[in-house]
Amino acid sequence: MFAAELKDVTKAYGNKTVVNSVNLQIHEGEILALLGPNGSGKSTILKMLAFIEDPTSGEVIFHGERVNYKKTEEVRLESTLVFQKTTVFSTSVKNNIAYGLKIRKMPKVERDIAVKEALKLVRLEGFEKRNARKLSGGEQQRVAIARALVLKTRLLLLDEPTANLDPKNAGIVEEVIERVNRERKVTIIMATHNMFQAKTLPHRIALMDEGEITEVGKPADVFGKLSKNLASFAAVENTFNGQSKITPDETSLVDIGNGVVVEVSDQKQGETVIYINAQDIILCDSPIKSSARNEFKGKIIEITDSDSIVKLKVDVGRVFAVQITKKSFKEMKLNLGSQVYIAFKASSVNVF
């Protein structure tokens, strides 16, 4: 028996189909990643599995039983979803985490212990009385994860759990995901557009594109095959496909087009996909002498503000997403159109 199963599930809003005839089996105790660009239908599948959205057609089987979406109050107790956009109740951290337990009528003494344990898991010990709204974005997301974990549901759904987090918080969250799966055997489905995360964390990957699942398999198989789907997936930030040539220095040079050639530490010949984590890219206002093998000159074409970090898109021929702290952003006096240099090490480039 599967933990959950989607049979020919379609979801449409008006005449816009966001999930199209999806068939997917989720194994008991696995971490499954839904990998795909924004708008590929990942979040909608998670919402249907959290039973807060109903499919337009098709059926969802949850632990062997067909889900009746007109009566989801009970089945909702067995599945929980952590949203991409962190949402916390405007009350204390403790009340936030205890919310679902109160609904499940857990006695106060047990509840307090459970809240403490959950906080310890996400490394927020002693945060009980703090106002959740006054925490940093990363801490709020960890509260949101603790709030979901404390319920010990059979299914844990995570929508881009680390998308807006700095490396430290992202690391903690990834560690927690891995740990609860290993220790409690919780079945986890996470949506991500981060190829690097998808390569390391999950047991299986389902590639999604335009509402359809195009491929399902183990990360090594999916990435190893370098399918057409995966290559088309290059629309995702900092993922490029190109031609790779091995150099005499035992590195490779990948031509990703528009005159941009990236040096990578792997040796690979022929067609390849590379991915650079936005956090691994250094931004400078002038050329620098460093050990970084890759340095490109470009222009800022987009600025997005989120919490303590600022996301920039830099056009160097190809567009790179770069992530810097708000403080650096202010100090460097950056603007749209500012001329900048980006630099990253050959070893920071993930080659698929």
Partner: protein, 254 residues
Amino acid sequence: MADIIGGIIEAFQLIITGDPDIQGIVFRSLFFSGTAVILAILWGTPLALLIAMKEFRGKTVIKTFLNAMIALPTVVLGLILFLIFSRGGPLGNLGLLYTPAAIILGQAILITPVLVSIGVASIESVDPEIMNLSKTLGASESQSQIAVLKEAANGIILSDIASFNRAIGELGVVLLVGGNIAGVGNRTDVLTTSISRSVQIGEIGSAIALGVILIVIVFAINIIVVIMRRANYLVELAKGPFARFKRSNKEDNE
């Protein structure tokens, strides 16, 4: 000028000595307006929830109508209610005209648009994901609505206070449907109507005393709200009734 100074001196004498007549008027004002607010909360809060959370045809029309109703002159509403409650009116046989019940009902109707409009605005300003969030944590439909209400608590309390201020300070409705009956029996004279009468019969001292009391009541309530808000008591207070309700519910062991 001497009249005014004399009036002020008399006013303080009346307040300090605790004149029973004035005490009665103050009590009635607080009681009528307080009851009217409770009534308006009972029907206004579900209405605000409905308007804020459900999509239906004519929603904008209703919201615009409610906003316009806030500006309705109280004396016009008083006249309409007078016509409805008067012997020949549609509800004439209930015999409500010139009774405390008419005042409470009239004030409750008067403040409903204020209460609902501010209530709707504060519920609409709550993060729309709160409803889904509480559901993913296992909440039922009604539990998730309560979660939204809790998030809107500050605005909802503000709407209740604004409603009370409007009720206790208005003259038109209480005068026309209450009749400002003094003396014995079912008195319907309140602070505003008594000020009006005192001025008419030349009792400037009483008028000033009542005016001072009215201002003190309104200011005091608003100051208390500001202080409590700063101390964030309000939110906890708003959660109090739910928490107490849950405590009386045996299933919860809080």
